[in-house]
C-alpha cells in the first residue's frame, strides 16, 4: 500500500500520532465500533436536547426498558449468526409468560418449577424450529413464521385472553431494585448484562461458539470438515428458545403480570437490534455485544424523543433510517474485506 508507516518511526515526535492512527484503524475495523459510536453520538445528542436525559435514574430506566428486546435479541443473534432468522421469538416469549403465570396462579404450581416449565416450553418451540430447519430443510424464515402463528394462537387459547395478575414473589425477583451511587437499578438489568457477557465468552472462546460462526459462514465446508451441522443448528435454536424463556421471566418481573398480548412486535424489534449491532443477516459475522448496543440505540431514541416532546412517528422514521444505514455499512465493509 503506502510507505507512511515505515517513515513515521524515524521521527520520535510523530510516534504518538502514529499510535493514535493505528488505534483508530483498529477501532474502525472492529465490528462493534459502529454501533458503539452511534450509541455514543445519540446519547450526546439527547443530553443536549433535554437536561433530564443524562441523569442516573433516566439511564437506569433506559436499561430496564431495553431488557425485554435486549434479552430476546441474544437468541436472535445466535440464530442470525447461523444465517437463520427467528420470527417467533416474541410470541414464544409470551407463551412462556402465560405458562409460568398460569401454572403458578391458577394451578398452584410452586414458583421455581413453574418458571422451569415455562423455559422448557420455550425451548421446546426452539426444538421444533431447529428440527424443521435441519431435517425438513425449510428456510428459517418460513419455519419461524409458522411457529410464530402457532405460538400466538396457543397463547390466546391457553390464556383465554386474560391477563394473569399477582404472580408469586419469586417470579418478580428480578424486578427488585438495588442502589448504585444513589440510582436504583433492577436485577433484571444485571442479568441481561451477565447474559451478554456469558454469550460473548461462549461465542468467542468455546468450540460451540466458533462452530456457530463457521456454519454461518459456510455450512457445506463446515459439514465436510466433520462438524455435525444439523445437531449444531438444533442446539442453537433450543438455546435461543431457552433465552426467550428467560426474557419471559424478566418481563413478568417488570410488569408483574402474564400478558397474552406481550411481545407482538418483538420479533422485528429484536432483528432491528441485531442489525443495528452490526451482525450480518447473511450469517457468520458479528459480535453479540453489538446487539446490546443496537438495542440500547433504539431505547435511547424512544426515551430521548419523549423527553424532547417529539411525536413518536419520528421515532419510527429514525429507526428505519438507522436500520438501512447499518445494513449498508455492513455491506460496504463486507465487500472491502472480500477484496
Amino acid at each position: 500500500m503506502s510507505t507512511v508507516e515505515s517513515g513515521a518511526t524515524t521521527d520520535r515526535g510523530d510516534a504518538p500520532l502514529e499510535r493514535l492512527l493505528q488505534f483508530g484503524r483498529a477501532a474502525v475495523g472492529n465490528p462493534i465500533a459502529g454501533p458503539l459510536g452511534a450509541l455514543a453520538l445519540a446519547m450526546i445528542f439527547f443530553s443536549f436536547q433535554s437536561e433530564q436525559f443524562l441523569q442516573g435514574p433516566n439511564l437506569s430506566l433506559i436499561l430496564q426498558q431495553t431488557v425485554e428486546v435486549g434479552v430476546l435479541a441474544i437468541g436472535q443473534t445466535l440464530i442470525i449468526l447461523t444465517a437463520g432468522i427467528d420470527l417467533s421469538c416474541g410470541a414464544v416469549m409470551a407463551f412462556g409468560m402465560i405458562v409460568m403465570t398460569k401454572l403458578a396462579v391458577h394451578s398452584g404450581v410452586p414458583a421455581i418449577p413453574a418458571i422451569l416449565l415455562g423455559v422448557l416450553a420455550c425451548a421446546a418451540f426452539g426444538l421444533v424450529n431447529g428440527l424443521f430447519v435441519t431435517k425438513v430443510r425449510l428456510p428459517a424464515f418460513i419455519v419461524t413464521l409458522g411457529t410464530f402463528n402457532i405460538a400466538m394462537a396457543l397463547v390466546h387459547i391457553y390464556s383465554n385472553e386474560e391477563t394473569i395478575a399477582n404472580p408469586p414473589s419469586a417470579m418478580t425477583f428480578f424486578g427488585r431494585t438495588f442502589s448504585i451511587g444513589g440510582t436504583d437499578i433492577t436485577y433484571a438489568v444485571v442479568l441481561m448484562l451477565a447474559l451478554y457477557a456469558l454469550f460473548w465468552f461462549v461465542l468467542t472462546q468455546t468450540t460451540w461458539g466458533n462452530h456457530i460462526y463457521a456454519v454461518g459462514n459456510n455450512p457445506e465446508a463446515t459439514r465436510l470438515a466433520g462438524i455435525r451441522t444439523d445437531r449444531l443448528l438444533i442446539s442453537v435454536y433450543v438455546v435461543a428458545g431457552a433465552i426467550y424463556g428467560l426474557a419471559a421471566l424478566l418481563l413478568i418481573a417488570r410488569t408483574e403480570v402474564g400478558d397474552p398480548n406481550a411481545g407482538q412486535t418483538d420479533n422485528l424489534d429484536s432483528i432491528t437490534a441485531v442489525v443495528l449491532g452490526g451482525t450480518s443477516l447473511f450469517g457468520g459475522r458479528g459480535a453479540v455485544i453489538g446487539t446490546l448496543f443496537g438495542a440500547l440505540i433504539v431505547g435511547v431514541f424512544r426515551n430521548g424523543l419523549v423527553l424532547m416532546g417529539v411525536s413518536s412517528v419520528y421515532q419510527i422514521l429514525i429507526t428505519g433510517i438507522l436500520v438501512i444505514l447499518a445494513v449498508s455499512v455492513d455491506q460496504l465493509t463486507h465487500r472491502k474485506e472480500r477484496g
Binding site: Q52, E161, A262, V306, L307, G309
Partner: protein, 344 residues
C-alpha cells in the same frame, strides 16, 4: 432410509393433529346443520386476539344463533392488516352473505367495501368508521370523542382548584380512535376550540407536560409512564388510551412511589378494567359496548335480508362513565353496573 421414515411419520402426526383441530373447531362453530336457505352474515374484525373483538364476535355469534342465521367470521392477523380483511370481504361476497359487519383496519378496505355494496351486500362498520364515512351503509359505534369527553369532565371536577400536570398516553399514529379519545378528553377537561371533527391530529394544551405512545399495550404503557415521569416528576393526571395501557402506567407510578397520588383515567370498560377501577388503579373509565354493536349489526343484516330495508347513518351504541367515586355534575354508573355490563 431412516430420515424418510421419520419424515413420513412426522407428516402423519401433523395430518392427524390438523384433522383433530379442524374437527374440534368445527364442533364449536355455530353454523346450523343443513339449512341451505339460511341467511349468511359476515363479521370481519381487526384481529382475533384483542378481547374487544373477541367479545364482539361472541355477541354476533349469540345473536346469529338466536335468529337462526349463519355467521362467517374473519380477522386480520394484526392491527392494521387490511389485506386479510380485503380478501375476507371478497370471499364472503362470493359465499353469498347478505351483509358484512366490519371493523376496518384502515381505509384501504374501502374499494373492496364499495364493490361488495355494488353487489347488493349491506356493509356496516362497527366501532371504527372508515374514511370517508359514506363508504359504508351504516356505522354502529361508540362515540369515541364522547368517551374522551366524559373522562375529561370527570377529571375537570376532580382537579378544580388544583394545578393539573397532564400526561397523555396515546395509541400510535394512524387510527382515528386514538385522536378522538385524546381530543375528547382535552375538550371535556376544558380546553377550548376542540370539536369532534378533529380526528386526524392530536390537540394539546399548556397543561399537557408529556405525550407518549403505548400501542394500547401494558408493557409499553409502563415504559411511556416511566419516561414521562422522568420528564415531569410532578405529573398528577394521566389520560390513557385504554385499560391495558392504564395498568402499565399504574405499575410505573407504583414503582415511583406515586400510587394513589396520581389520577389515571381510561376508556373501554372491559371487565379487567372495571376490576381495576374497583382496585383503585383507574379512577374512572368510559365503558363501551362491543356486544351491542355486534348483535345490533346482525339484526340489521337480517332485517335487510327479510325486508330489503337498509339501515343507514350512525347509531351510537352508547358509553357510560364507570367510577367508584362519582363527582357532581358528571353522570356516572357504579361498579355493580360496570361489572354487570363489562366485556372480556
Amino acid at each position: 432410509m431412516r430420515f424418510s421414515r421419520w419424515l413420513v411419520s412426522l407428516m402423519g402426526v401433523l395430518t392427524v393433529s390438523l384433522a383433530l383441530l379442524v374437527g374440534l373447531s368445527s364442533a364449536r362453530s355455530d353454523a346450523p346443520a343443513q339449512n341451505t336457505a339460511t341467511i349468511k352474515v359476515g363479521l370481519i374484525t381487526k384481529t382475533d386476539t384483542n378481547p374487544f373483538f373477541v367479545k364482539m364476535k361472541q355477541g354476533a355469534q349469540k345473536q346469529a344463533r338466536a335468529l337462526g342465521v349463519t355467521l362467517l367470521t374473519a380477522a386480520g392477523k394484526i392491527d392494521g392488516d387490511a389485506a386479510t380483511q380485503i380478501t375476507a370481504i371478497e370471499n364472503m361476497v362470493s359465499a353469498g352473505v347478505k351483509g358484512i359487519l366490519i371493523t376496518p383496519s384502515n381505509d384501504s378496505v374501502v374499494p373492496a367495501i364499495r364493490k361488495a355494496r355494488a353487489k347488493g351486500v349491506l356493509v356496516i362498520a362497527l366501532d371504527t368508521p372508515p374514511n370517508p364515512a359514506s363508504a359504508v351503509d351504516a356505522l354502529f359505534a361508540t362515540n369515541n370523542f364522547t368517551a374522551g369527553v366524559l373522562i375529561g369532565k370527570y377529571a375537570k371536577v376532580l382537579f378544580k382548584g388544583k394545578t393539573p400536570k397532564i400526561a397523555m398516553l396515546d395509541l400510535f399514529p394512524g387510527p382515528s380512535v386514538g385522536y378522538l379519545r385524546h381530543n375528547g378528553f382535552l375538550s371535556g377537561f376544558g380546553v377550548a376550540g376542540i370539536t369532534q371533527k378533529d380526528s386526524t391530529k392530536y390537540k394539546t394544551s399548556p397543561d399537557v407536560v408529556c405525550s407518549a405512545d403505548t400501542s394500547g399495550d401494558q408493557a409499553k404503557g409502563q415504559t411511556a409512564m416511566e419516561t414521562c415521569l422522568q420528564k415531569s416528576p410532578d405529573i398528577n393526571l394521566v389520560y390513557t388510551i385504554n385499560e391495558p395501557a392504564a395498568a402499565g402506567a399504574y405499575t410505573a407510578l407504583k414503582n415511583a412511589g406515586k400510587a394513589g397520588k396520581v389520577t389515571v383515567v381510561s376508556v373501554d370498560g372491559g371487565c379487567a378494567g372495571v376490576r381495576n377501577v374497583k382496585a383503585g388503579v383507574i379512577a374512572a373509565t368510559s365503558q363501551q359496548y362491543p356486544l351491542k354493536m355486534a348483535s345490533r349489526g346482525v339484526q340489521a343484516v337480517v332485517n335487510y335480508a327479510k325486508t330489503g330495508k337498509k339501515v343507514s347513518g350512525y347509531t351510537d351504541t352508547g358509553v357510560n362513565l364507570i367510577t367508584a367515586k362519582p363527582v357532581a355534575g358528571v353522570p356516572s354508573k357504579g361498579l355493580a353496573f360496570g361489572l354487570a355490563n363489562c366485556w372480556g
